[in-house]
Symmetry: C2
Subunit: 197 residues, 2 copies
DNA sequence: TGAGGTATTGGGCAAACGCCCAAGGCGAAT
DNA sequence: ATTCGCCTTGGGCGTTTGCCCAATACCTCA
C-alpha cells in the first residue's frame, strides 16, 4: 500500500510542475525561484535540482504541459458545438463574452515572451500553436466557413489573447465586441440583440 | 559651455530611462537589475538609486514614457492617411503586412503582465490604452466607418499585439490576414489582389 | 538478510541582488 | 572667497540567488 520510491518521485515531480504553472502566472516567468517553487510544492529546495537540471528546464516543461492541457480542453468544447453556422455563432458570442479566469492567457503571454529569449521554448510553443491553428481552421471549415479558414483561425487566436490581455489592464473596458467578431468570421449582422443589464 | 550639475543629472536620468526600455525588451521585466541598468547606461550603479527610489519605479516610468512615444508616432501616421474608406484600406493592408521591429509589442506585453502585479503601472497603462482607443475610434468614424467604431478599435488594438506576439513565436507563420481584417472593419472583399511572390 | 537503486535531507558555497551612505567634486549664488 | 545645492564616487550592508553534495532513509530483489 505504501508507494514505492519511484512513485513518490513522480508525485514530487508533478507537484513541482504544478507549482511552476501557478508561480509563472502569479509572479512572472523571471521571478520564479528555486525556493519559491519548493515552498509552493511543499518539498525541500534540494529536490528541485534533483528532478530538474535547471529552474528554466522546469519552467519550460511545466508551461508547455499546462498549455497543451488548456488547448485540449478548448478543442473539446469546440467539438461539442452544434454543426453549421449555428455552432460558429454560439462559439463566437461565447468568445465575445469571454472574461473567464485569465490565468491561461497570462501563462501563454509569459511563454511567448520567454520564448523570445529561449530557442527550445520557442520551438515547443510554435508546435502547440501550429496544432491549435490547424485544428481551428479545420473546425471553421467543417462549420461552413470556407473563406480563408487558416487566416481567420490565426486572427481569431491572436485576438483572443490580445483581448484578454487588454481587458486585464482595464477591466472597465467592457465594450461588447460581438459585432466586429461576427463580421470577422463572416456571419450576418445580428438582428435581435438581447438587452444587457 | 560646460553643462551645469542639474543638466548632467537630467542626462543621466535620460540615459537610465533609455537603458531600462531596452533591457525590459531584451531580458524581461523581472530580469532587469540595478547593475545591468547602470552598465547599459554607462553610469555607476549607485546612481540608479539616487535618481529613482526603486528599480520598479524606474521600470514603470521608462515603459510608460516609451509607450506614449510609440502611440504618438502611430497616431501621427494614421493622421497622414487619406480621408474616407481609401485611408482605412491603406491602413488595414499596411497593418496586415505589419512585421516591423517587434520591440514595441514586446514592451507592451511585458507592461501588461507587469501591470497584473503592480497597481500603479496598471492605472498608467490603462490611461494610455484608453487614449489610444478613443483616438482610433474617432479616426475610424471620420473615415466613414460608423458601425461600432469603439468595439472595432478595441478589437483592432488587441489584434495588433496578439498577431505580432504569435508571429514572434513562429515567424514561418506568414498567413496573409488581409481578408479577415477587411471583413473586420467592414470593407468589401478585395477584387484584385496583387500577386505575392 | 544483505546489496543495490532511487528519493530525500540539510547544509553550504560563490555570486548577484536591492538598497544605502559618507565623502568629495563642482558650478551658481552670495 | 565662501557657502550652498546638486550630482557623483566607491564601497559596503544583509539577503537571496542557482546549484551542488555527502549522508541517510527506504523499497526491491536476489
Amino acid at each position: 500500500m505504501t508507494p514505492t520510491a519511484a512513485e513518490r518521485g513522480q508525485e514530487t515531480r508533478a507537484r513541482l510542475i504544478a507549482a511552476a504553472g501557478h508561480l509563472i502566472v502569479e509572479e512572472g516567468w523571471g521571478a520564479v525561484t528555486t525556493r519559491k517553487l519548493a515552498a509552493r510544492a511543499g518539498v525541500r529546495p534540494g529536490l528541485v535540482h534533483y528532478h530538474f537540471g535547471t529552474v528554466t528546464d522546469l519552467l519550460i516543461e511545466a508551461s508547455l504541459e499546462a498549455l497543451e492541457r488548456e488547448v485540449g480542453i478548448v478543442m473539446g468544447l469546440l467539438a461539442q458545438a452544434p454543426p453549421g453556422p449555428l455552432g460558429v455563432e454560439l462559439a463566437v458570442t461565447g468568445m465575445a463574452q469571454y472574461s473567464a479566469d485569465p490565468a491561461s492567457t497570462i501563462l501563454t503571454s509569459e511563454m511567448m515572451l520567454a520564448a523570445t529569449r529561449n530557442e527550445r521554448l520557442r520551438t515547443g510553443l510554435a508546435a502547440v500553436q501550429g496544432k491549435w491553428l490547424q485544428a481551428v481552421a479545420q473546425w471553421l471549415n467543417e462549420h461552413g466557413l470556407t473563406v480563408e479558414p487558416d487566416a481567420t483561425a490565426l486572427v481569431l487566436g491572436a485576438l483572443l489573447d490580445g483581448l484578454v490581455l487588454h481587458r486585464l489592464v482595464d477591466p472597465e473596458l467592457a465594450v461588447p465586441v460581438d459585432g466586429p467578431l461576427r463580421r470577422l468570421v463572416g456571419l450576418p449582422e445580428a438582428t435581435n440583440r438581447p438587452a444587457t443589464p
